[in-house]
Symmetry: C2
Subunit: 113 residues, 2 copies
Amino acid sequence: MLKQVILIRKDLELSKGKLAAQACHASLKTYRKSKKKNPKETNDWIDQGGKKIILWVKKKKKIEREIPKKIPKTSIKDAGYTELEPGTLTALGIGPWEEEELDKYTGDLETVK
Amino acid sequence: MLKQVILIRKDLELSKGKLAAQACHASLKTYRKSKKKNPKETNDWIDQGGKKIILWVKKKKKIEREIPKKIPKTSIKDAGYTELEPGTLTALGIGPWEEEELDKYTGDLETVK
């Protein structure tokens, strides 16, 4: 099973809507990168229902994970129009990638409830 | 300015993470439809920063809006693995489309904070 994971900084205390918008930016940006790099796997993921999991990271340092280069990832910086300072790193999108391998790098993280 | 709007059902009282995941599904699905239908506008939207706004609709009936056919939209039904009954309509993605015209159809809705 393929999935995409989205890491969100918990320390920023984003509102519900802001968090959702940052997650959408990360999901779409990483999809577009993945689609170029791994078109077949990306289409397979869509066909499987496009599973997406939202996870907390405690602070900025924790979002900068050691993830193998073969796995597509993109980071999101906020434009700073509303709640945050311009250029604040808010989210990281990873995948789609095989769930089992992805869990090696993000399995320690808490799900956003 | 082009933007995408994502309508979320307030009556379902989704958790923060569930709401973000449904918004991501709606954003990506509507992007993919729009990319096929209006490739130029969709790329322009990405180049402009891919503005996304998350809005509440009070209940299911309110999510079924009269929106002109030319504007791409897709609805999201939940698979029902976690918080919801399978097949529950959770979200509607609309656009990207010109902000001014889009606001005619969704300008009455409250932003998700």
